[in-house]
């Protein structure tokens, strides 16, 4: 079963963020609650945790790329 890693709600003013760093690479085993990716704006950063146990099967937004609230950053299977 695939679980998407989403850009969370960031408040009513912030609609996009940059992927700063992936803490895992495709094929890595990850655990729920583990910090898996860091996103940032020009004002602050946010660490995003893996939503479930599994294997990171896909990275859709790479480091340095801009993304929007609600977008799929990657997939865990």
């Amino acid at each position: 079963m695939a679980t998407e890693i989403l850009v969370p709600q960031l408040g009513n003013e912030v609609t996009e963020a940059e992927v700063t760093e992936w803490a895992a690479t495709v094929g890595d085993s990850v655990s729920a609650g583990e910090i898996i990716v860091v996103i940032s704006t020009t004002k602050a950063a946010l660490e995003i945790e893996a939503p479930c146990d599994g294997t990171l099967s896909e990275i859709r937004i790479g480091e340095g790329e801009l993304t929007e609230v609600g977008a799929v950053l990657g997939v865990i299977e």
């Binding site: 969370p8 709600q9 960031l10 408040g11 009513n12 003013e13 912030v14 940059e18 700063t20 760093e21 860091v38 940032s40 704006t41 020009t42 004002k43 602050a44 950063a45 946010l46 660490e47």
Partner: protein, 250 residues
């Protein structure tokens, strides 16, 4: 009167007022605020010289900053729970001591004034930054996990100082920060929690027993960035204590 601004960030529930630190603004609550939205109406205050506020800071004293914020709050927020970071923590104490906002609780994150001496070099250098590389090096001192401060943030901060009146406002606050008296007594009866990064290099944690102190290992000067879940849980705990009846909306 010093300038200030008040913004509603989102959420539904009892009012929570976030007060930023020196050089930050409402958008520095990016990680924490959304975690509060499910159970609180989240507001962010901004001091003069910061964010969307004007650049009049008076003499830049804690009293000046608190009075300006108090004027913004008046008539708009009733009994907010105050979350103050660093300079914002000290201003939160002033607001509580004045009895002006009658906060139902205080959550202080590495507040100026009750820890060991703050890093004057950081305070002095921040308003003087002119290039991104130096800003990046300085701002990285704020965190343990360096990935949480980016060069893009540093460049954006330097851009804000292109406005010389803004730079002057920060200089005024910096000078005041080093000499201003900070209230160290918590308001009686006011539920209070103090959270501190054990590796805070800007405002080192206190060496003396401090009421309600929770130390956060592997965290620097930004608990609301490096320990978001812990801070959000503390806010919820304080709200539950402050609003124990069915109108808590938690």
């Amino acid at each position: 009167m010093s300038d200030a601004a008040l913004h509603r960030l989102g959420g539904e529930g009892p009012d929570v007022l976030l007060i930023h630190g020196f050089g930050a603004d409402r958008l520095s609550w990016l990680a924490l605020a959304p975690q509060l939205f499910p159970f609180a109406t989240v507001w962010a205050g901004e001091f003069g010289g910061h964010g969307a506020a004007g650049n009049n800071v008076g003499k830049g004293t804690l009293t000046d900053l608190a009075a300006a914020l108090e004027a913004e709050i008046a008539g708009r927020l009733a009994k907010p729970l105050v979350v103050g970071h660093s300079l914002g923590g000290a201003v939160g104490l002033v607001l509580a001591a004045r009895g002006a906002v009658n906060p139902t609780g205080l959550l202080l994150l590495a507040p100026v004034g009750i820890g060991d001496d703050l890093d004057n070099a950081f305070i002095d250098q921040l308003p003087e930054l002119v290039d991104g590389e130096a800003a990046f090096a300085l701002l990285q001192q704020l965190v343990v996990r360096k990935v949480l401060i980016t060069r893009r943030m540093a460049d954006a901060f330097v851009d804000t100082l292109a406005d010389e009146t803004r730079r002057a406002a920060l200089r005024t606050i910096a000078a005041s920060l080093k000499s201003d008296a900070v209230p160290v007594l918590f308001p009686p009866g006011c539920p209070c929690t103090v959270m501190w990064g054990a590796s805070d290099a800007i405002v080192p944690p206190p060496n003396v027993p401090t009421k309600g102190l929770r130390m956060l290992p592997n965290v620097g000067h930004l608990p609301h960035v490096e320990a978001v879940s812990e801070v959000a849980s503390a806010v919820k705990e304080l709200l539950e204590g402050a609003f124990p009846t069915s109108d808590a909306q938690i």
